[in-house]
């Protein structure tokens, strides 16, 4: 208990709006909640399913297999020295991390409206916990990738881990933040327009085809030079290209592309936080 009458107020609630109202101290205080949400997400995902966490593996494996058959065997897309299956698996694992971050955070407000209207905690905890949950999924997928990697390596495939692999975690963080940023931007709009939800599902799928997931960036430049800019302006294309370069030693690494991705990510993340902040204060009144 404070003894002096003029003691500091612990906090104030008012209508004053700051553009960025980011209380890091408070978010830190709620870190336990964030990890409990991660735990809840993980447990809830596989409870009462037959295969449990195996679903994390089946999805990328079968997608990679399908891509290999359609794009590599039927459509004859060249993947250089890298086995097509491994090429696709790398692209899909990385892509799905980004995709899950985006779609998972984009419904933050609509999915948690019930909780948000009853109790206060920093709302950003929810999208952050989604990004961390997906990191856990991504980890499992990387393990299975490593398994296939060792298999193909022992079969004498010409693959090698690039020495730039140490940047890979940074790449993952960038990707997560990029997904988070877009997700937060969309989540704010979904509170107003419910039909954006469908657009997200559909748009993300289209974006995949522009993100060099099942083809190398060089192929696009060579075959469709007129439309290559579509892919070149997409930061995710660089991320996937770089990830493959680090993991498989194939493809290109452009520092220009890396810088571009980093800048776009920071801009998107910043605007995402600003919009998210504005939304978290008024959405309970308008939802």
């Amino acid at each position: 208990m404070h003894t002096s009458k003029e003691s500091q107020w612990l906090y104030t609630i008012s209508s004053k709006r700051k553009l960025i109202d980011f209380n890091f101290k408070e978010i830190w205080q709620y870190r336990d909640l964030m990890f409990l949400f991660v735990r809840r997400n993980v447990i809830a995902m596989y409870k009462q399913t037959i295969l449990g966490p195996l679903w994390y593996l089946i999805q990328p494996l079968f997608t990679a297999l399908t891509f290999t058959i359609i794009f590599n065997k039927v459509a004859n897309i060249e993947t250089g020295m890298v086995p097509p299956f491994l090429f696709n698996l790398a692209g899909i694992s990385v892509w799905s991390y980004f995709k899950n971050c985006l779609t998972g955070t984009s419904n933050t407000f609509s999915a948690n409206a019930g909780m948000f209207s009853k109790v206060y905690f920093p709302r950003i905890i929810i999208p952050l916990s989604v990004v961390i949950t997906n990191l856990f999924k991504f980890g499992i997928q990387l393990l299975i990738f490593t398994g296939f990697y060792i298999y193909y390596y022992s079969q004498g495939a010409s693959i090698h881990i690039n020495k730039l692999i140490f940047i890979f975690p940074i790449l993952v963080v960038i990707m997560g933040l990029f997904g988070l940023g877009i997700g937060m931007l969309i989540s704010s709009m979904v509170t107003k327009y419910k039909d954006l939800k469908f657009l997200v599902g559909f748009g993300v799928q289209l974006l995949m085809y522009l993100s060099a997931v099942m083809y190398p960036l060089s192929l696009m430049r060579e075959k469709l030079p007129r439309f290559a800019w579509l892919v070149e302006y997409n930061p995710m294309a660089y991320v996937i290209e770089m990830a493959r370069y680090m993991l498989l030693g194939d493809g290109t690494l452009s520092w220009g592309g890396f810088t571009y991705t980093l800048i776009v990510t920071l801009v998107i993340l910043f605007s995402g936080i600003v919009v998210f902040n504005a939304t978290e204060k008024r959405f309970i009144d308008t939802i």
């Binding site: 612990l10 209508s15 336990d32 409990l36 009853k118 109790v119 206060y120």
Partner: protein
């Protein structure tokens, strides 16, 4: 103990009426396109006025207006008011769920709010896992919860099922577990909204007792919204009454409850009839209902005897052939019983009759009386339906006892005695 811990400084909250957008992007685009074409808005409600000059004062509503409250350390403040008076809006602002339009709340302590028990419970998680999740949502850290885990489980009475997923729980058990978590919160200021309305009588008793410990023993500040006047009276040290978003009373709990009950209903428990019921044989002058030792302006409470006073003049010469009968109806419109003036028969001239219900006989609630003037004990020659209506309020009850309503319509206090003494 006299420092202000929470200062509510001129808080107002404005809501906009109606839909802000149409709710879907396609409809909003359509509306925009119609505006470009200078056609009328296809989503405007038919019959709604679209007068620009009127918009300013009709589109917005003040859910709260200029609320000023200083809450002192250790105070238990009751907030009462009718539906739509702004109680929940005030709690939502205090819990930082929504922002005030103007004004400021300043707090010296951590505020935890219980607007619902079991927020964020996940059916797939076990009881124990949910304790941690729910506790963290309410603002506790993992370490704090771990310290109280055993107490929480014991208080909930769910020891046997603590490792079972919550989806297998009965709804009562879920509520117990959720309340147990909330009961062990240790904020400086606790904001509670009607959560005590859940659970069975035994659990309510436990919950109110715990609330009492929190506020009395541990010196915590509590803000408490409830419709249950019995629990407000027993728990709160001070109460405010909200009406249409404005604070109309601030002070002593008993006075606040009376103020609220009086201002509330359009009830007439006291009527002078003048010349309106003037028949050949009788003229009715006055009917009033009040507690026997109180003034007519006081709120009628259940734990004191209630007197019904009837004043009429009998104009014919055969008063023994007539009597009056009342029918008593409850707020559901169910007839409860009828009673007549058999012990005090009518006389010629002015009759000033009293009838007394013993204390505790009528439970708290709203009642209606119908008046019948009966001839020869078989024919009602005059009937006035719902001639009087009155409200019986909860009395003050001891802490820890049941706060809800007893079953049944009446609660007569019969004569009990020992047969072999």
């Amino acid at each position: 103990m006299n420092t202000t811990i929470l200062k509510i400084d001129n808080i107002s909250k404005q809501y906009r009426l109606g839909l802000i957008g149409t709710g879907t992007l396609s409809d909003d685009l359509k509306r925009w396109w119609f505006r470009v074409l200078r056609k009328p808005d296809p989503f405007l409600k038919v019959g709604a006025t679209n007068d620009r000059s009127k918009k300013g004062d009709s589109d917005y509503v003040w859910a709260l207006k200029n609320i000023n409250i200083d809450v002192k350390q250790g105070e238990v403040l009751g907030i009462i008011g009718k539906n739509g008076a702004g109680k929940s809006t005030l709690l939502k602002i205090l819990s930082r769920i929504t922002m005030p339009t103007t004004g400021m709340v300043k707090s010296k302590g951590r505020i935890a709010s219980l607007l619902e028990v079991g927020t964020g419970f996940h059916p797939e998680l076990t009881g124990k896992e949910n304790i941690y999740l729910n506790g963290a949502i309410l603002g506790m850290t993992k370490a704090e919860i771990r310290k109280k885990e055993i107490d929480i489980i014991e208080f909930s009475g769910c020891q046997n099922y603590i490792d079972t997923p919550v989806k297998r729980y009965s709804s009562g058990m879920r509520v117990r577990l959720a309340f147990a978590v909330a009961a062990f919160l240790e904020p400086d200021i606790l904001v509670i909204d009607e959560v005590l309305a859940v659970g069975d009588a035994e659990f309510q008793k436990k919950a109110i007792g715990k609330m009492q410990d929190i506020s009395k023993g541990e010196g915590r500040t509590v803000l408490f919204v409830s419709h249950n006047m019995a629990s407000v009276k027993s728990l709160c040290t001070r109460a405010i009454v909200l009406e249409h978003g404005e604070m109309v009373f601030d002070g002593n709990t008993d006075e606040a409850v009376s103020f609220y009950l009086k201002g509330g209903a359009d009830l007439i428990h006291h009527r002078q009839f003048g010349n309106s019921i003037n028949k050949n044989v009788f003229q009715l002058h006055q009917i009033s209902v009040k507690n026997i030792n109180r003034s007519i302006d006081d709120v009628i409470v259940e734990d004191e005897a209630i007197e019904i006073k009837t004043v009429l003049s009998f104009k014919a010469c055969n008063p023994e052939d007539y009597h009056i009968t009342y029918h008593l109806f409850n707020e559901m419109g169910e007839a409860m019983f009828s009673f007549s003036n058999t012990e005090a028969p009518l006389k010629q001239g002015t009759n000033d009759l009293g009838c007394c219900f013993p204390k505790g006989f009528l439970q708290s609630g709203q009642y209606f009386l119908s008046f019948l003037f009966v001839k020869d004990r078989r024919k009602a020659i005059h009937i006035e339906k719902d001639i009087i209506s009155f409200v019986v309020a909860d009395g003050k009850r001891d802490i820890g006892v049941y706060m809800g309503k007893e079953p049944g319509y009446i609660r007569p206090q019969f004569n009990w005695y020992r047969l072999h003494d």
